[in-house]
Amino acid sequence: MSKGVAKSTAEPQGASRWLLRGHSAAVFAFFYAPIVVLCVFSFNDSNAVGNWNGFTLDWYSDLFANDNIQSSIWVSVKVCVVSTLISVVLGTAGALALERFRWWGQKAFDAVLYLPIIIPDVTMAVMMLVFFSETASWFDWIPGVNLQNGLEKLVFSHVAFNISFVSVVVRARLANLDASMEEAAADLYANRWQAFRRVTLPQIMPGVIGGALLAVTISLDDVVVSSFVSAVGGTPLSVYVFGMLRKGVTPLVNSVSVVMLAASMAFVMASLVISRATGSEREER
């Protein structure tokens, strides 16, 4: 809407214009400076964190030699892969059911689907802790599932919040497509499944992938819920690092942190790039 109007009305003139620019630059510096400093000091050849003492990669080789870190990375990866796959399927199905159909109880489902996003993570963590401590034995009948084991609990709880994030991203994509293509496919004798696989799925794919990458990030980064449900010996990396960094600043923590942050940012950027395709399309309309 605002594109056609001369900038002069939107942008303040004179001194306040430069104030606005300076302020914005400062806020971006505030966003990124701490991250940059953390990265720089992870290469610092000193045990004291505040003084630059020359470049080293020692802390990174320590990191890869540390067995606890290695095994917790594996826990994180397993939980992340399995929980992301399940949440992508369930989240996409939920998004389609909400966007493409009208049925009884839809509004209630919609509301419940939003809750895991806004609920404070401590509350979510408490819910999972209480639930699993009361019901762990209920799941014994399912072959191959043993809820005494931390991994399954981690997967179940990560899926519980990631369904919502996936479905939000997929719904944003679906809302921007019109249903007429699917109807055309139906007119050409495609059955529902064919119409979905041939028409709908390719169109929502950026949303599905964007949602999946977001789920990966959230699963890898989750600390609070995971620290409540993980079992001894099965802690994911984020929980292990949380325990380490509460004790204090060490060069090893710095290097682990940088690796985690880099992974997280890479997934976020990929997710944004892929689902931004959605955004620009909408603006063109």
């Binding site: 809407m1 605002s2 109007v5 900038k7 009305t9 939107a10 303040p12 606005l20 302020h23 914005s24 971006f28 966003f31 701490p34 991250i35 400093v37 953390l38 964190v49 505040g50 389609l96 159909f101 009208r102 839809q106 419940v112 806004i118 609920i119 404070p120 993570d121 401590v122 509350t123 408490v126 819910m127 999972m128 802790l129 209480v130 639930f131 009361e134 179940f156 519980a160 369904i163 007119d187 004798y189 495609a190 059955n191 064919q194 980064d221 600390v223 984020s238 690092v241 949380f242 960094l245 509460r246 600043v249 923590v253 710095n254 942190s257 985690m260 942050l261 997280s264 940012m265 931004r276």
Partner: protein, 306 residues
Amino acid sequence: MPVEAPPGDAPELEDTTEVATPGLEYQAERAKARQGFLLGLPTIVYLLIFFVAPLGFVVAYSFATRTSTGRTELRDFNLNAYARLGDDIIMTVAWRSLWMAVLATLICLVLAYPLAYFISTRSPAVRNMLLVAVMIPFWSNFLIRTYAWRVLLDSDGLVTQGLELLGLGDGRILFTSNAVILGLVYGYLPFMVLPLYAAIERVDWSLVEGARDLYASGWAAFRRVVWPLSRPGVIAGSMLVFVPSFGAYVTPAILGGNKEGLLGSYIVLQFLSARNGPVGSAVSVVVLGVMLVSTLIYFRAGGKNL
């Protein structure tokens, strides 16, 4: 991509033979509604088991009985845990959470509004770039971003040294409430920028032009036109910062000392050390209540569209 042969089995054509009788259309609609429900069913069942039921258990726990060994048993339901909410310790933590969350929200608003305004008045290409630059910290690892401040605020950290160089006191703010507020602002600032941007971007600038034509000063045009139109974004952003700050646990755990715990920390303490499930659950229920009220306000303000 290989093109498959057209489907051999005849698809159900019944629905497409349109429709002299209203009954048929009604049936088709019912069939479609059923399909939609069935499609959503696995997700519904999953959320009922792993989200709604756990929520129910927490509410039940808040009325449950704590045995002398610290176990919580779902019997003899009572209000004891809620009676404990008036205790001095809990009230102190609750007030601290409230004022810290309010303060963090206000600081975020002051920092984010000009930035959101700046971003929404850029050209589309620049705007997209800046938005991505805001969204990367929005989604990336909260724990590590908070930890980065611990590095800066450590006794020989850069900020501490800088403050001391500038002669601003002894510069050690780690483990104080200031550090916690700083951490909350840093962690949740993007939550404020994005809805504000969405609201300001939607402002119809020809209204501002009209105001200027009628001899409003730039400031007056902002105060009387842009600000009121962007208020849904202000409300939405404030909620998105306030709710997680109010229940914060990670930030005070990393940047605060023993005395800066917030409600989130208190809940964790009740479950992991004090072994008092009912009180921990009752506090969780209160936090949930605050969240629900805030969410209602958020949707009323048009939050869902932002």
